[in-house]
Symmetry: D2
Subunit: 396 residues, 4 copies
């Protein structure tokens, strides 16, 4: 990672980026003050797997204020090297860099686990899974899991094997409203506009999935004047979409109609080869779900006679029939893969839930049930109240 | 009820009102066809307590198509005499008339119960409660309850005493979205406009409560350009309101600010005398919750030095300090008390849930659990799908 | 009009209705204070043709505060007798009553003109037209005209014949935004809901005309979740509708699609017999334009084999092919004919423009150009500022 | 601009970017077909000053299809070198590159003028101004001007000196709705989100100016849940904002309240040093008006004790009192300076207006009035109709 000068430049750059974001993490700022007083993590080691980027840096600052010693690694491809360098200066043990692949990632997970932490903050259950293989983590009393997919893993392949309480932060109703509906909904519209430079009003969008994220995407497209058709196999959600003023249909019926298809279902292969063959020439495909598998991209590549990158994040495929299909951001989440991700304030909420949940596990690990569990209701209420306070409502 | 001529006129008037509404009860129309074929209520008597008005008439028609014999009474003050007369012509046993009070109501309940029905469709649990006192209802195998307050009664004072399955229709997620958020939300805005002839844009509204109904009221006021402050003691709901772009505050802080206060909390005495004393001169109070007790109306009357009806549903109270307070519709639900209530299509949904739930109880009363229970999920899905079909979505 | 008792009751009822509305005419309240000081109409007689209802009463109060002597008549069918009685008690010369037809109206116009007023406030140019026939009005120095249709008359059949300045209030950009887009837009949605008791979300509306009123109607229907298609022959307006997220089409293409058609074009016979024959069974027709001639109602009556009033303001016609067509409020403006008309605060604006324009004509009639002319820009700005002040914006 | 390889790479990259955008310039595509037939510019040279970027390339393609020979230069700093290289391959005479400053720009203007064009497509009136100094342009019969500021120049310093018709495209009501209100409104929201990564809901925005652009910015921020206060010195516009549900205030009153200030007034020095001193710590300043002078940036620099770039387009200034002020994109238009500018389809409209206006001047230059003039109404209507056609509305 180069010369001392380059390293110094990276540290400075990282510090500044962190500073900008930190100034908008107002719930965490308040918790920092509280933790500086109460030192809930005095003598405690926390092992973390979470994207090494400026917002995460805010959480680490708060945990350190609480007395914690921290070891962290990111996920493959998401580590921001300048932020990693800046974090090292603050005494955090950081493993991994941007160019890491899956192999390096697993090695980094081991490196974090070898610190023998008392608490894990996990992302996809990789840290918890690692404890099954090795025996070093004798101090572990519990932790948290950021994602629903990690929670699913704890409830299936790891079921009964993790004998400590794990609070699943993504299940919080707060997070579902603030981050999924509003945060994701708005940044998907923003990402689509930024990448394509196309108009929203009068354009024909098909949004697949009307869960919290899909509802957000569809509603904000509609507020910007888009013509939106919602497809959801659950008739209760579909009816909700209709009452919100959306067109409601099946994918089959709108294959020709749609100009842009956005997948937000949480399921793989929602848009398949047979669908793509029958779409209109020039159609745009875009994913806003967590995994890039909602569109059958491999199938698209196979059946294309030509592909080219027209502009950044814009790849055009030509089918045998001469029609073109445009894929955005290689099917990765269009808001995250092409920009800065969810707004700082929505991450502030999720990270504050993490901070309080870790504190709760540290204090009550003996009485909490074992295994994955939702964020305790009193924590949801406290954080909701704190976020409301950051908005400074007066009498109007 | 007067001369044969008047009676004939009432019948005709009732028939026409029913005809208009029936033409928009499309889910029930479809179920009518189905029930004509399958005759699910052949030889079955159904005792009903439900408002005797045109939409209810639609449900009765469908139940009769299914083979049922019907006895019905309404609630105090809501029976429409023309509809009652028209229904009698179709062979329904109708008890009670518009002028009935609580005493007559209880007598009517007895009259319905004396038909010894196999099924009850109840409203406030009055029919089920009547079975405790008398022994005639030997055929009863179960039924449905329309309201949440009836369900609460079944779960408290009647707990363990009703030994048959009772499906509670109001708990359906469909009904909560279609009827509460959208139906109530829109008709409250409509009712406020109709009664007061006041503008929405730029007016300062305080909406108390951000459940499904309150959310609907606040959102639709905001869409019409109102400046809306939401008050909810639950910080999770309050945060949701803030994310929806509402101002969020406490009642204390907005007493002077608000020009119109709308209660939708489900709790009594939310607006108290002490609040009213500190409100601005000319403030308007309006209730959209089920019970008229959300505003302390008795307290308001007591402390007023003068009151007068300025226009229909507009009563002005003058306090000792010279300020006036305007109360709409005597604190009754402003949408129902002053107009035709929820839109026909939203009632269509709720009545269709009733029809299918009654059929389910009739078929499965032996295997269903005893006591109050939610609408089975498959029924919610079927009705959602049928309502979607009535919207006739094409490809856009 | 009966006994002294009945008359007394009417006066009291009228006074109360006026009191309620007056409390919301805040611009006029302020002008009243100003006129009480400056007495701009001292010794001046004003002849008025304007609906005799509570909002007009507010304007009269203000003009009287300014020293004016007033003679007024309403329009055929719109006089509220209780308000007329109450006004007489305040010294206003009121002519006509609710049951008046066109013949009585013209007589009433003569009665007002015979007061020989210095100023006219006219509605449809009836007062100005009357001056051509008689010679009594020797004091007349000018006046105002409320409507665009009156202005059109002044610019065509009366062109060159009215040798005094006439300020046309309806041309004000303020009135077009506040009253037409927002006032009419919102009350048409309200009126439709009130009369039909039908749902807005997912219903298929065709709005004909996208001027200020039509834009308001279409936008507010859409905000309530309606599926809205706009038809306008002007492609610039049609494009604006598309950018607002509306569907845009021709009447021909949506004859079958539409469930509700609302005319707001300002042109006669927009919906013709040939259109009606090809509409779907049960279609609802509704007018929101000034004149009831936008729908060919005579044609509809002629070709119907049956018609009946299903409920108040709901008339159902049956065509030869068995289809039914429902006409609301006999094709009169659905917001005015079935309710209280535009919100008090939007009328406050228009009446305040009247008060200031009359004052301007009285002061500057010698220098103002002759004939119809727009509201002077400084008056628009003053009234806009005053209306803003009634909204009491704080720092948020 | 380097080696042949690099040049080849640039050409290829430029061609692809142009291809992507061209596929969404549907009005221009249609005009291309028309011009290929009718050859309206056969033997005609057109001199152009317009940003050398992919959308402009689409217009050039259409003009070439019409038979024109083209010379073009961009504006300082906006030329995209890859697009310039790609254009040269198509026979266009391109002058200038991205690194050009004001001096080079004036030289490039001369180079274009020396082609002695028959028509000018001007941007800021630079080409027209150049004709005053030199005598070479003997063929010039007229042209078009893209901007309002160019039109202002033609009406002031160049008044009476340009003896040919000049159609001012920015004055078109179409452009004002499609490009200003919707295009600018939406991309400013997008740009703010992209650069800052901050949330919109519940944030306190002050939008200065409620013309077409400001209205768009304020409305779309509000639709995303922002708390928006509008400041406009024109009370008629301010009242319109209030009716749209905005808070309305003066800059003085909201200096402390605002978290983000966005200038869209068209006037210099709207936010001055004295304002900035009294704003809250951490306030964000952002410009969406055409010129970067709406915020007194020089003043801000002078009175700051420190400044640093925290992230791309995010500069933080520290005042003497310790407060920080964040300036986005150095006060340049936040949508253009940080992204791809207005959506392709909105530019399609403006460029199509250019194509038709140039054709009109070429055909009717002898009969059109001299000097700046609006786009002829029939052209507005034709282009509106064509844009509507690109939206492919069906029956819904």
């Amino acid at each position: 990672m180069g010369s001392p000068n380059m390293s110094k430049r990276l540290v400075e750059q990282g510090i500044k980026k962190i500073e900008w974001v930190w100034s908008h993490l107002r719930i965490l700022q308040q918790i920092e003050g509280e933790f500086l007083d109460s030192k809930p993590f005095d003598g405690i080691k926390i092992g973390i797997c979470l994207h090494v980027e400026p917002k995460t840096a805010g959480l680490l600052r708060v945990l350190q204020a609480g007395g914690a010693e921290i070891a962290i690694t990111g996920s493959p491809g998401t580590t921001q090297d300048d932020v990693a360098h800046a974090l090292k200066r603050t005494g955090v043990h950081v493993y991994g860099c941007k160019s890491d692949g899956r192999t390096e990632h697993l090695k980094n997970i081991q490196s974090v686990a070898q610190h023998d932490p008392h608490l894990f903050l996990d992302n996809g259950a990789d840290l918890f899974a690692s404890t099954l293989e090795k025996t070093f983590s004798t101090h572990l009393v519990g932790g948290t899991e950021e994602t629903t997919s990690g929670a699913n893993r704890l409830r299936s392949e790891l079921l009964g094997k993790i004998n400590v309480p794990v609070i699943v932060v993504n299940d919080s109703p707060l997070k579902r409203s603030v981050e999924n509906e509003h945060g994701v909904g708005q940044t998907v519209v923003e990402g689509f506009m930024r990448v394509t430079n196309l108009i929203i009003p009068a354009k024909r969008f098909v949004v697949l999935g009307y869960g919290a994220c899909g509802r957000g995407v569809a509603r904000y497209l509609k507020k910007f004047g888009g013509r939106v058709t919602v497809v959801d196999i659950d008739p209760i959600r579909a009816l909700e979409a209709a009452m919100d003023g959306m067109n409601v249909s099946t994918l089959e019926k709108v294959l020709k109609w749609g100009e842009v298809f956005i997948t937000v279902t949480g399921h793989p292969d929602v848009i398949q080869k047979e669908h793509m063959k029958r779409m209109s020439d020039g159609v745009v495909l875009c994913n806003a779900g967590h995994f890039s598998s909602e569109i059958d991209i491999n199938g698209l590549r196979e059946m294309s006679v030509k592909s080219q990158e027209l502009d950044r994040f814009i790849e055009e495929f030509t089918l045998g029939n001469g029609n073109t299909i445009v894929l955005l951001a290689k099917g990765e989440m269009v808001n995250l893969a092409t920009g800065k991700g969810n707004p700082a304030e929505t991450m502030d909420l999720g990270l504050a839930l993490q901070a309080y949940s870790l504190k709760r596990v540290r204090e009550d690990h003996e009485t909490l049930p074992k295994g994955p569990q939702p964020v305790p209701d009193d924590i949801n209420k406290i954080i909701a109240r704190q976020m409301l306070e950051t908005f400074s409502f007066g009498t109007s």
